[in-house]
């Protein structure tokens, strides 16, 4: 009898501790999950070309538009290079922006201003800098170092029709949040939702993946929104004409190309 009680108690204990844990086949280690998520979200393919439309909307409904082409190429050891070319609005048309992104060290950034024919080096802090005035920070656009947070699996839950793992990230380095929750799709590893909390523990920014499409076999978030729930300001980003593995050459990511943008890739 005692044996049965011990056995039942043990089984119950095991069941209790496994409820809420990731299922078989899903990475259970938080760092591994966030790593896979970053790979799916920011590093898919060898390279990427996309036309991006950003709509910035104030609480009052006033809208501003940004339209740009993004060229991104992956390099060994986790390095990436980005070339961004702005088509709209008119006063920044022709502006080009280049980023060399390195794991665990500050990015190199260049800005080309066509009216001045000038290439500038840009000093900016990733975590707190808004990308072109939007609600996305540079890190929201191009990823954050894995080591810059401690990650913890909180639970599994369904988000709409998708099964997700909910991760909590607490920064160990400078960040624009004190705590972040991420709902990561168990099958695609794409982040479907994020909640950013401030130092007072209040929710202030919410990310949602609004549309996911299969592009050349790679699940891709083609529409996403970041909402600042405190100010009511939001930014919707739509990726159009996404193409992976288009064969971007290394010569695109140079100061010289900033001055003379690669037109064949910008149409």
């Amino acid at each position: 009898m005692n044996t049965w009680i011990v056995l039942c108690a043990t089984v119950s204990l095991i069941l209790m501790t496994t409820v809420g844990q990731p299922r078989a086949g899903v990475a259970s280690d938080a760092t591994e999950i966030i790593q896979q998520s970053q790979a799916a979200f920011f590093e898919a393919g060898q390279d990427l070309k996309a036309r991006i439309k950003m709509t910035l909307t104030t609480r009052e409904g006033q809208q501003r538009l940004r339209e740009l082409t993004m060229l991104r190429k992956n390099f060994p050891a986790g390095e990436q290079k980005y070339f961004l070319f702005f088509h709209r609005p008119a006063d920044v048309s022709g502006t080009a922006f280049m980023v060399y992104k390195y794991p665990n060290r500050e990015d190199d950034r260049w800005l080309f201003l066509p009216a001045l024919n000038l290439v500038q080096r840009v000093a900016a802090r990733d975590s707190r800098s808004s990308f072109v005035g939007s609600d996305f920070s540079y890190e929201d656009i191009s990823g954050r170092d894995l080591e810059a947070d401690t990650h913890r699996v909180l639970r599994n839950e369904a988000l709409g029709s998708r099964q997700t793992v909910v991760l909590e990230s607490v920064p160990t380095r400078e960040a624009d949040y004190a705590r972040k929750l991420t709902w990561i799709d168990e099958s695609t590893y794409l982040p479907l939702k994020e909640e950013h909390y401030d130092l007072q523990g209040a929710l202030y920014k919410v990310f949602t993946a609004d549309e996911i499409q299969d592009v050349q076999g790679l699940p891709t978030i083609t529409k996403r929104t970041m909402t600042n729930v405190k100010t009511g300001h939001k930014t919707e980003v739509v990726f159009e004409s996404v193409a992976y593995n288009v064969g971007l050459g290394n010569d695109i990511f140079t100061e010289r190309t900033l001055r003379r943008p690669p037109e064949q890739w910008l149409k």
Binding site: A90, L116, N117, S130, G133, R256, R260
Partner: protein, 423 residues
């Protein structure tokens, strides 16, 4: 008045038709691009002090301007023009200015650009060492949009590159001097006040073609460049016909060669930059001719960082070390202001963005501890919509002596307002 109305009406009509054309035919989508702006820009002196002549009113600058940028590109060929039409309220007449007009062709990894173009290089922020291309200081001191600091030059530029190393070679057959603030409207120091002047530009001859070259690349995250220039000083050197009681002063442009280098990259939590150059005064290397600038070594170091979101601070220190200073002192005519052997200048740039980067509040300040003069440029700029912005810019000069670069402009403090509609 009637002419002004006609001019503005025709500009408005042109904007309208250009927009219609681009929409109707969809030409901007593929090979042809049409952009431009309509701008109003006025600048008033706020000191009440005026130069003693009929043109010396308080309106330092005032105009409505229309710019049309037309670009065409197909495969390896690109054509580009940037043309301004304006109505000048100081001179009371309309004008046309070609800011850029060039053809460009590519062969392999080389580009050749020929025609009128804006040339610029170096790492300084409003401080120029190896950037020896023409500047319009009158436009800069009048609070005009900063692109008008650049004077377009008619040149041929060859640009060659590999992913690791690139080079530019520029040949400029037509000499273009720096544009200084006009004496008719700016109160400024003149060592030959009241003496007739004439200008003697370098003749358009093959041996007077200016050549500028730059080799550049990025190594270990640092953009590094070597520069070479052979041409002329762009600021006039004043040559009196006689030293004691001159009756004629000739503005000349002595020969100059510049050898330099620059680097900039991320370090110390920001961007650090450094640039050096040796100005070799080819017509007076020994420094004995007081009418020709002496050779000098010039340097600058800069540091820029973002201490908090949307706030950037930039600092620079600049110096000019004159060669053969003893010869300069020995030959300088009596009564002329003396330059320091080591002129130094520091700058600070503060920029804060607000409201999702639609409002920019900034200050740029020059201060020279050796000349003991300063120049402050406060600015506020607001983007009313994606197409429309307005700005107010101050230009405040001062110094201990009325003979230094900024000190002489003390009476010209001014306030400029600009509104621009971009399309």
């Amino acid at each position: 008045m009637f002419r002004r109305v006609i001019f503005l009406a025709s500009v408005a009509l042109w904007v309208h038709s250009a927009c219609l054309m681009s929409h109707a035919s969809g030409v901007s989508a593929e090979n042809l691009s049409i952009h431009g702006f309509l701008q109003a820009n006025y600048d008033m002196r706020i000191t009440g002090q005026q130069p003693p002549n009929p043109q010396g009113g308080d309106l330092l600058f005032g105009e409505e301007r229309f710019q049309l940028r037309l670009g065409y590109s197909k495969e390896k060929v690109r054509l580009f023009t940037r043309t301004d039409l304006f109505y000048d309220h100081v001179a009371n007449r309309p004008g046309v200015e070609s800011r850029e007009a060039y053809a460009e062709g590519s062969v392999g990894s080389s580009d050749l650009r020929a025609g009128r173009q804006i040339l610029i290089w170096g790492v300084g922020d409003y401080l120029f060492i190896n950037d020896i291309f023409a500047k319009d200081w009158g436009a800069f001191f009048s609070g005009r949009p900063v692109e008008y600091l650049r004077v377009p030059q008619n040149a041929v530029k060859l640009d060659m590159g590999t992913p690791g190393l690139s080079a530019e070679i520029v040949a400029i057959p037509f000499f273009q001097e720096d544009k200084l603030p006009p004496r008719s409207s700016f109160v400024q120091f003149d060592p030959f006040s009241g003496v007739a002047r004439t200008t003697q530009q370098p003749a358009m001859e093959f041996q007077n073609t200016e050549v500028a070259a730059r080799v550049y690349g990025t190594t270990w995250g640092f953009d590094t460049a070597l520069y070479l220039y052979r041409g002329f000083f762009r600021m006039p050197a004043l040559q009196p016909n006689q030293v004691t009681t001159p009756t004629l002063v000739t503005e000349t442009f002595p020969r100059l060669a510049v050898y330099g280098a620059s680097t900039r990259g991320n370090t110390l939590g920001g961007v650090v930059s450094a640039e050096v150059g040796y100005y070799d005064s080819l017509n007076d290397q020994a420094g004995h001719n007081p009418a020709i600038p002496n050779s000098s070594f010039r340097y600058l170091v800069g540091y820029q960082r973002q201490p908090w979101e949307d706030f950037t601070v930039g600092l620079q220190y600049y110096g000019e070390l004159m060669s053969h200073y003893d010869a300069y002192r020995a030959t300088l005519p009596a009564g002329f202001p003396t330059q320091d052997q080591h002129r130094q200048l520091m700058t600070i740039r503060l920029t804060q963005l607000f409201w999702h980067q639609t409002l920019r509040v900034g200050l740029f300040a020059f201060y020279s501890p050796t000349d003991q003069d300063y120049y402050l440029i406060p600015e506020i700029r607001y983007s009313i919509s994606d197409n429309l912005w307005m700005s107010a810019t101050g230009n405040i000069f001062g110094g201990r002596r009325p003979t230094t670069f900024f000190g002489q402009l003390d009476a010209n403090d001014n306030l400029a307002v600009t509104m621009r509609y971009e399309f």
